[in-house]
């Protein structure tokens, strides 16, 4: 029997498996939040979600539209301030974050500020950091969930909004960012990538069903490294899809994109 699923469903299911029980996660709205909700309903009931607006460990009844809306603090154990949440991250209590951006480079640096023109007169203005630079600086493992596209995966971000491994090697820690933090994995519709431990360059570790290493490289604006052994990504399971579709996102806000 073949299970069908779309790219977004695949990314959410694969990403959600990283979130082990008893870990903490700082996250925004959209696909990352869906991944967290799925994890909570499957293998990680003790996954604690923190939203930058102030909510700690909510029990999400449905997808929040805003990380500050009342869904995002539903049956939370605490609601507090942005300072309290960010300080919890800065203090070293938060294991994971999921981020995105208009551009990502080979070191996992992210651009969500502008593209084209100049900073003071940009061609296309984006929201800026929001909490991304903060989460990407403070959380132990930063993950990215995005579509594989050569315009998005660029040689060099026009603007580094959020730090990845900066210029690779030890540059992140030399800049003063907290020891032991950094980009961990990237999930796309085509593959899963991590970062090679010495150079800190992005490398393919797993290919999603139906794609090849070439597909991934063709849709990437820089040369990807390859892990010694590239595995095939386990596709979404029946139960993952069922819960994702019926409980996490019944209105298809995210998985319908």
């Amino acid at each position: 029997m073949t299970t069908t699923y779309n790219a977004m469903e695949l990314m959410i299911c694969v990403a959600s498996r990283e979130l082990e029980d008893g870990s903490t996660l700082a996250v925004g709205t959209g696909a990352p939040c869906a991944a967290a909700m799925l994890a909570q309903r499957l293998n990680s009931p003790n996954l604690s979600i923190l939203f930058e607006a102030g909510s700690v460990s909510p029990q999400l009844p449905e997808m929040p539209i805003s990380v500050g809306d009342s869904r995002a603090s539903h049956k939370a154990v605490m609601v507090s301030t942005m300072g309290a949440i960010m300080e919890t991250c800065q203090r070293g209590y938060v294991d994971y974050t999921f981020l995105g951006g208009a551009q990502i480079d080979m070191y996992g640096n992210l651009n969500s500020t502008f593209i084209g023109g100049t900073h003071q007169k940009p061609k296309v203005r984006f929201p800026g950091s929001g909490g991304a630079n903060d989460f990407g600086s403070f959380c132990w493992k930063m993950m990215v969930l995005t579509v594989q596209d050569a315009r998005r995966f660029v040689e060099k971000c026009e603007f580094i909004t959020t730090p990845g491994w900066l210029s690779g090697g030890n540059s992140r820690y030399e800049a003063g960012l907290p020891e032991g933090t950094g980009p961990y994995k990237v999930f796309t519709n085509m593959a899963v990538m991590d970062f090679e431990p010495e150079s800190r360059r992005m490398r393919i570790i797993s290919i999603n069903p139906g794609y090849s290493v070439k597909d991934v490289q063709d849709n990437c604006g820089f040369e990807l490294l390859k892990a010694p052994k590239i595995t095939e990504t386990l596709p979404p399971t029946e139960i993952e899809l069922k819960i994702l579709r019926e409980e996490v996102d019944p209105h298809r806000y995210v998985i319908g994109r």
Binding site: S66, T81, M86, F126, G128, S129, G130, G131, I160
Partner: protein, 331 residues
């Protein structure tokens, strides 16, 4: 402890705690009735050219009624604190109220997408932008609320966000670590929408607070809009519930549904349909002009805006959604 690197962004406000102290020293601490109309409060306490900040997070507990009133009163050339700003930013761009902005989060509406109007305005080159992060702005308000000129943090480091900020990197004299110093941010005026206040400005907020505790303390003048006035006796009955005290506050305006079309936790959920109308109308500048005329400039006040968009019936629907009452029996 030399300065290792300086961001090249402009600092729009004075971080000197002695200058702020001199202002706060003269501010009255008398517990007097400060209730007034929102129009009067904006007229009295918000002036062209000044720097202002708004409470709430995104479109949650955001003083939307106050934003509309600022447009009606044609405020211009202001500095704005773009801290988790969404629908508020969209409105303020529509009125071209500000010409300089500290950018934490701007032009977007979280999961709802990006505002065409806000992007157009930000892409004109007419707005000076200094980049920060959401936490950076929290930290800057924290420093001001503390009464010190800066706070050190560990974000910004290594990024262009830092390069376009007004932060400074130094080496910690205790640990040798690099830290980003964030200068105190004292807005000329802060406007905060809350659940409850007495007429003196003793305020209660429920649910997420974002940085509004510090915003109230950092701002030289504070306008509070509240869902409802309560008595001072009620405030004193349980002082643990008070979020910030009266002596910070200059004006208290009772504006029920003052956060509409955003969410007010425990009161009403956002009007997503109407927020989509905004985004749709913005696509065509001419259409948007008419939209603004009808929804803001032709309205006497926030109640007229609400009446044009569903009135009490809509408010009751949003209350039902907020309390998940449509789900009763399902979970």
């Amino acid at each position: 402890m030399d300065i290792i690197r300086k961001g090249r962004g402009e600092l729009f406000t004075d971080p000197d705690p002695d200058h702020a102290r001199a202002f706060f020293q003269k501010k009255s601490r008398k517990m007097v009735n400060k209730s007034m109309t929102l129009a009067k409060a904006i007229e009295t306490f918000v002036h062209d050219g000044e720097y202002f900040a708004l409470g709430g997070f995104g479109a949650n507990r955001t003083p939307i009624a106050a934003c509309h009133e600022m447009l009606r009163q044609r405020r211009k050339n202001m500095g704005f604190c773009g801290h988790t700003s969404t629908h508020d930013f969209e409105i303020l761009c529509a009125g071209e109220v500000f010409d300089r902005v500290d950018a934490g989060y701007i032009v977007g509406l979280e999961a709802r997408g990006l505002s065409p109007c806000a992007r157009r305005y930000m892409q004109t080159g007419k707005v000076k932008v200094t980049e920060w992060t959401n936490y950076s702005i929290s930290a800057r308000l924290r420093a001001a609320a503390m009464g010190v000129p800066f706070i050190p943090t560990r974000n910004l480091l290594g990024t262009d966000t830092f390069e376009c900020s007004a932060a400074k990197i130094i080496e910690c004299p205790y640990t040798g670590k690099k830290l980003a110093l964030h200068p105190a941010l004292y807005p000329d005026v802060g406007i905060i929408h809350v659940h409850e206040s007495d007429v003196y400005g003793n305020v209660r907020v429920r649910g997420i607070l974002k940085s509004d505790n510090d915003l109230a303390r950092a701002s030289k003048r504070v306008i509070v809009t509240c869902e409802r006035l309560i008595t001072n006796e009620e405030i004193r009955r349980d002082p643990t519930e008070t979020t910030f005290p009266y002596f910070l506050v200059d004006a208290v305006c009772e504006v029920p549904y003052g956060g509409y079309p955003g969410t007010m936790a425990y009161e009403y959920f956002s009007d997503e349909e109407h927020l989509r109308e905004w985004l749709k109308a913005e696509e065509d500048p001419d259409v948007f002009k008419d939209f603004l005329q009808r929804n803001i400039y032709d309205c006497k006040d926030h109640h007229e805006y609400i009446n044009k968009n569903g009135g009490m019936e809509k408010m009751l629907q949003l209350r039902t959604i907020e309390h998940l009452l449509h789900k009763e029996g399902k979970r």
